[in-house]
């Protein structure tokens, strides 16, 4: 079954505006990671948030996690045309010392963000 579901599926905004993308998941997790993918290329790792964290920042990115609602959001502030890409959330139930296949990720369907200049 699909673990992560992003919404919206597509988002179009003007340069300078903020973009918010949401991700929901179904089972318990240990980590949630956000990735960016430009036009069918490889995935760029943006940020990891652990299940015991509620908010994390990295530059213009802000990620929140609400484990009670099994949801996360990614906020991109002051967007730029170069932010145009697909954004995916991915969850795992890896524990730092468990090793093995617990590190495997389950991906959401992604949000296609278009930032118009």
């Amino acid at each position: 079954s699909q673990q992560g579901e992003e919404d919206p599926q597509a988002l179009s905004i003007q340069e300078g505006e903020n973009a918010t993308m949401n991700c929901s998941y179904k089972t318990s997790i240990n980590n949630l990671q956000w990735y960016r993918q430009n036009s069918g290329r490889g995935l760029v790792h943006l940020i990891l948030i652990r299940s015991n964290e509620r908010e994390k920042h990295s530059g213009r990115l802000r990620v929140t996690l609400d484990t009670s609602k099994k949801s996360s959001s990614l906020l991109i502030t002051a967007s730029r045309a170069a932010d145009t890409a697909s954004y995916f959330c991915a969850t795992d139930n890896a524990l730092a010392n468990s090793g093995g296949s617990n590190y495997k990720l389950t991906f959401g369907k992604g949000t296609l963000l278009t930032v118009n200049p």
Partner: protein
């Protein structure tokens, strides 16, 4: 973060043939994985590449179709066997368990495969 390279970056293949994709990491990592991304879709895990032993496959993926090798901690290969047009996808390797960032998973640039 780990630097990951994949070869080839893209290929166009004929039905019934096989293609082997290589994944090389610039540092030793604990985990290596192979994912498939079909056109317009999200990523689906094919298997976990285990060093020195058989890969662990996800439901719907079998060793005869996707044989995987991982001879050491920095290298893995995925073969797509007896290809059909339905195998046209982007294939991505990923790694986790680097020394600096244990839980984060990083992806290679992908191999775009088109099967005619």
């Amino acid at each position: 973060s780990a630097v990951i390279s994949q070869k080839p970056s893209r290929d166009i293949c004929q039905r019934g043939t096989s293609l082997t994709i290589q994944c090389q990491v610039d540092s030793q990592v604990t985990m290596m994985f192979w994912y498939r991304q079909q056109p317009g879709q999200s990523l689906t895990l094919i298997a976990t590449a285990n060093q020195g032993s058989e890969a662990t496959y996800e439901s719907g993926f079998v060793i005869d179709k996707f044989p995987i090798s991982r001879p050491n901690l920095t290298f893995s290969t995925l073969t797509v066997s007896n290809m059909s047009p339905e195998d046209s996808s982007i294939y991505l390797c990923s790694v986790a368990g680097t020394v600096q960032r244990l839980d984060e998973q990083f992806f290679g640039p992908g191999t775009r495969l088109t099967v005619l």
